[in-house]
């Protein structure tokens, strides 16, 4: 059986892309220790005024290298095992915004190209013709322009906000799947192991089939 058409077909099927209606900033996010630390600080001190990250505990932040003294400052009287909850109670948030700001634990996983989405959203604020603040990525967004991108005076200020946004997006990417680093590390070892195992199995197969293999063709050949 000629397998090429089928392989091509499968490739085609796997390439079915999801339509993306929003043009996102083409930014490469890093998740190195410094980014995560800076991102954690911004998220805890700025974002958490309104948002929660309920699947993350304060203790988890120690694992990404947040300083214990900083953490104590952020925690106040909360327990190390307490989840990262918003400072604004839900009913108060509902009264001010009409809805509870979404939990950020899975924000980057819950959007197509989530990291880039968060970055583009935070740097997507602008002032429209009527003087209202709006957002390119999320028109009609309720969230205010917390970083002040829409009224940043200088290029330098804008650049600073872009760096902040990249740190936040990087941190949220970590928060969406804290085990992703471990997963990739184990994955490399697993694939290496499987490649060696499969190569050995192939040699073993050849050895067992040695006496049969000279005639693998069909009993009836197509001429």
């Amino acid at each position: 059986m000629n397998c090429r058409p089928l392989c091509l077909a499968l490739l085609f099927a796997s390439g079915i892309a999801h339509a993306n209606t929003v043009p996102l900033a083409d930014v490469t996010l890093s998740t190195d220790a410094d980014t995560l630390r800076r991102g954690a600080e911004t998220v805890v001190t700025v974002c958490m005024n309104c948002h929660s990250l309920k699947y993350i505990r304060y203790r988890d932040l120690l694992n990404i290298g947040v300083d214990r003294d900083d953490l104590n400052l952020w925690m106040g009287d909360k327990d190390l095992n307490a989840p990262l909850l918003s400072l604004t109670p839900e009913d108060m948030a509902r009264a001010s915004y009409g809805k509870v700001p979404p939990d950020l634990s899975l924000m980057t996983a819950a959007r197509e190209h989530g990291g880039r989405y968060v970055y583009s959203l935070l740097t997507g604020f602008y002032t429209d013709d009527d003087g209202y603040t709006n957002n390119h990525v999320f028109p009609g967004i309720v969230m205010p322009d917390v970083f002040g991108y829409s009224f940043a005076g200088t290029k330098e200020d804008q650049h600073q906000i872009e760096n902040n946004a990249a740190d936040v997006a990087g941190f949220l990417q970590w928060a969406a799947e804290p085990n992703a680093g471990l997963r990739k590390k184990i994955g490399s070892a697993v694939i290496l192991y499987l490649v060696i195992l499969t190569a050995l199995l192939y040699l073993w197969k050849r050895r067992i089939w040695k006496d049969v293999d000279h005639d693998t063709g069909n009993t009836v050949r197509e001429s």
């Binding site: 099927a13 799947e177 997963r183 994955g187």
Partner: protein, 422 residues
């Protein structure tokens, strides 16, 4: 040394007096005759069995940490992903495993269609496989509700509402399936219960499938029953070949599990189910997309549901529809070969259309692809008989091949068929 050997022998004898272990191993493995000319497309049955075991094993461990409760289901999945030791691995194996299972099954079916393995005497294998496919689809569908994300919830809402198209008692059936007026906690708990039950029904179905296989033996690319000397024992030849194929499969599978696990998880499913907010675009999992596209291609709701059901069940008719007397698969059958590839391309087209929002030119293409889908089956009796006449006239096959084909046809279909061929 000698002592342990005889101890082993004695144990074997002790067992064999009470249970036919040695006879079973001989009959089903070490002396089970398998055609020597099987190619790698014949590996996928074993791979399907492997996936079943993998899904059951990972599923059992997931169940230890999962909570089938509308208020807790989403949280418990995050608990598995973050707190349970290697919970993320177990869950990604299971979620990617569902896709891999379907990929393997679809290839297994495509192989059967290409090589005509559904034909006599393997009809019961084909039909038991058809039943297994339906059970697998039901299991996958119910499992997809369990993470209780937006796509889980709305997918279940849409699919269960399809049963409302049943005349007269439609509404009652939908409520009976959901246990409520809309998908809710009751739906989740019953889907969980059945999602745990069905794999074991599948396991029983697989046993029947294998008993049938070991009665009729494997088909092979030539399509004719091989002489005894062309069969080789399953073990060690095909055990090692299956394990080598498993290694190749696992490399691909683990690449997805470890490096692209979110490939098969819709972003929307990382948002907890919200009955008050419909996602912009509800899509089923990729393995349902072709059938979903057929459903949407029929303007009438009841008609769409019937067409979708038929599109799955129609495979069972293959042994009746295919009248070709030439043994072997599409490689010996010029018309069927073209039809096979057209059908594969058609299914992939339908899959793409199912993944897109409806409307515009895609709807027209979808209707055309649906037509081609059913037409492929409906014209088969005519094209296959035409093929009989065409191939009987063909003179350029090697004489040995012609003789083998004629003998086979005669043995299987009697003298009248032989006259047809001449």
């Amino acid at each position: 040394m000698n002592g342990t050997m005889s101890k082993r022998k004695r144990l074997q004898k002790w067992i064999d007096l009470r249970f036919p272990l040695t006879r079973f191993v001989k009959h089903e493995l070490t002396e089970y005759p398998t055609p020597r000319n099987l190619n790698y497309w014949w590996n996928f049955g074993f791979l399907a069995g492997f996936m079943l075991v993998m899904q059951i094993a990972t599923g059992v461990f997931l169940t230890m940490h999962y909570k089938p409760d509308a208020a807790e289901a989403f949280n418990s999945v995050q608990h598995i992903m973050r707190d349970v030791n290697y919970g993320w691995l177990i869950r990604y194996l299971h979620s990617t495993g569902a896709s891999a299972f379907f990929a393997v099954i679809f290839i297994h079916m495509a192989r059967t269609l290409y090589y005509g393995s559904y034909r006599a005497p393997r009809e019961l294998m084909w039909w038991s496989g058809q039943g297994l496919l339906i059970l697998l689809m039901a299991t996958a569908f119910m499992g997809y509700l369990l993470p209780w994300g937006q796509m889980s919830y709305w997918g279940a809402q849409v699919i269960t509402s399809l049963f409302g198209a049943t005349p007269v008692i439609g509404d009652q059936i939908v409520i009976w399936l959901r246990g409520d007026f809309s998908v809710g906690d009751d739906t989740l708990t019953r889907f969980f219960s059945l999602h745990y039950l069905f794999p074991f029904l599948i396991l029983m179905g697989v046993v029947l499938h294998l008993v049938a296989l070991h009665t009729v033996k494997s088909s092979n690319p030539s399509g004719i029953t091989l002489h005894a000397q062309d069969n080789i024992p399953f073990h060690p030849y095909f055990t090692i070949k299956d394990f080598y194929g498993l290694g190749l499969f696992l490399i691909v599978f683990c690449s997805f599990v470890f490096f692209m696990p979110e490939f098969f998880i819709e972003p929307d499913n990382n948002i907890p189910a919200n009955p008050l907010q419909t996602p912009a675009h509800i899509v089923p999992e990729w393995y349902f997309l072709p059938f979903y596209a057929i459903l949407r291609s029929i303007p009438d709701k009841l008609g769409g549901v019937i067409a979708m059901t038929l599109s799955i069940l129609i495979f069972a008719a293959m042994p009746f529809l295919d009248r070709c007397k030439v043994p072997g698969g599409a490689q010996y059958r010029p018309i069927y070969r073209v039809m096979f590839y057209v059908f594969i391309v058609d299914v992939l087209t339908l899959g793409y259309i199912g993944s897109q929002p409806p409307g515009g030119v895609l709807t027209t293409v979808g209707e055309f692809a649906t037509f081609i889908y059913f037409a492929s089956f409906i014209i088969l009796p005519f094209t296959s008989q035409w093929e009989n006449r065409l191939l009987a006239r063909k003179k350029d096959l090697p004489k040995e091949a012609l003789k083998l084909i004629r003998d086979e046809v005669e043995e299987r279909y009697g003298d009248s068929a032989r006259e047809d061929m001449q």
